[in-house]
Amino acid sequence: MPGLYAAGEVAGGLHGANRLGGNSLGDILVFGRRAGDAAAAFARTDGATRAIDDAQIAAEQAALLQPLGGDANGSAPAENPYKLHEDLQLAMQDDAGIGRSEESLQRALAAILTLRERSARIRVAGGRALNPGWHTCREITNMLTISEAIVRSAIERRESRGSQWRFDHLEQDAEFGKINFVTRRGDDGMGVASVPLIPLPDRLRPLLERSRFYDAAKLPKGYLTETARAVGTRRKKK
């Protein structure tokens, strides 16, 4: 999309499977600078003054204002956006946390799709000025999209890597180390495609190859299995 620039964690994929706190501080500095420079340069070009489709604006406005429009249509009762938010938090916390499996992820996906249906009926009172309930209506729609992308990609990644521990696939798989999963909106919902990673430049390769996590063969035997087992045991204790 011309004119759209991303900075920080949303730029995606920089740290591979790792997303430890603090890493994104580097992203802020590097990509904030790059995005800012590029956006400023773009703003000076002719392309920056293109017209926006009025119909698109009207559709977006209608979608935004819908939750303020009185009672939900049809027989189903109106939904509170905060309740949806809490239900989504619980579903993701329970079934799409660091420890996950095909079974739990499918449960999470089903929950998300149900919440997506319910989100069409969210209604809030009040007007447009500083109305946190109304803001949450927008946020919950975006959160559902992000959650669905997370879960659909996690289902496809049948390995344990970084902060994903698939209890049904406890080992790291070198083949999955060569691809990313990319989600796109299709005609019949969200689709997931695997995209090969851009090969690492030769000058950076020695840095990474020193890491034992880069190559599963270098990990101590049974490393992930044993760690996951220990965690599973702890979780079961009362």
Partner: protein
């Protein structure tokens, strides 16, 4: 010692034991929140909130937003007393809502009002933009041109500045200060937060500007009569009065009221300082 078999990892074990611990204490809190917009009706609305162990006022306000009134406006962000957004007046005291525990308050209804010194926008949200205007009036840190030598700053200077750097700009000190709150002198008085900022610049050993006259004339430093209310409400425990305002007053007095310097100025001109 009996040896117990290690349980088989049941990796999908539900974690109800964690989730069922809801922490409800069985008590109910009556929260009286000021609702309204300028020009319209403003009135306290009473909400009944189930108390959870360790609950803070911001939690109670969130409960109201989530369950009772999704239209209740409230500024907040980090919920960790570091962003300075959730300032309000709880039982009449200016506090951060995220740092005020329900079990620290006396029994009975709790009132939550917006900051009184700033114009109301809606419910608990006020317009604090005057603070940012004041901030822009203060010349920023300015060092002498780089002469190539590395900066060496004594640790005690660093410590002095570090206290001022703890400010999270919650503006509770601006809210409580009677020069702003009762006399409404926001057009001629910078307020405690900005005396802290000026002090941090004036006390920086590498800063070369002199902000003393400005602080006296535009900043209205003399209006402060050291009631120390700002120090009392500061959630970062900055000694605003003792370490920022009084030293600034001393510096201003040094320029204008030191008799030896006064004579010196008469004889040799202003630059004799």
């Amino acid at each position: 010692m009996a040896v117990v078999d290690q349980p088989k990892p049941s990796v999908d074990a539900p974690i109800e034991d964690v989730l069922t611990a809801s922490g409800l204490t069985g008590e109910t809190l009556t929260l009286r929140v000021l609702k309204g917009v300028p020009g319209g009706d403003t009135a306290e609305v009473a909400y009944q909130v189930p108390v959870v162990a360790g609950m803070v006022i911001l939690d109670a306000v969130h409960y109201v937003q989530h369950n009772l009134d999704t239209d209740l406006a409230c500024r907040w962000n980090c919920k960790a007393a570091k962003c300075g957004s959730c300032s309000a007046e709880v039982n009449g005291h200016p506090v951060l809502m995220c740092k005020t525990r329900v079990d620290d308050l006396p029994a009975g209804p709790v009132t939550v009002h917006p900051l009184k010194s700033f114009p109301l926008i809606k419910d608990l949200v006020t317009d604090v933009s005057r603070n940012y205007e004041v901030n822009r009036e203060i010349p920023p840190f300015t060092a002498a041109p780089d002469d190539g030598t590395p900066w060496r700053i004594p640790q005690q200077d660093i410590d002095r500045l570090y206290e001022f750097r703890k400010c999270i700009e919650c503006f509770l000190c601006q809210d409580v200060c009677h020069i702003l709150r009762s006399h409404d002198y926001s057009d001629r008085f910078y307020g405690p937060r900005f005396f802290v900022r000026v002090a941090s610049l004036e006390m920086h050993p590498k800063d070369v500007l002199d902000r003393r006259d400005q602080t006296r004339d535009q900043g209205g430093l003399g209006y402060c009569n050291i009631t120390k209310c700002c120090t009392e409400v500061c959630p970062e425990h900055i000694h605003i009065t003792d370490n920022a305002i009084i030293p600034l007053k001393e510096r201003v007095a040094d320029v204008h009221w030191d008799p030896v310097r006064f004579v010196g100025r008469k004889l040799f001109g202003r630059n004799a300082d």
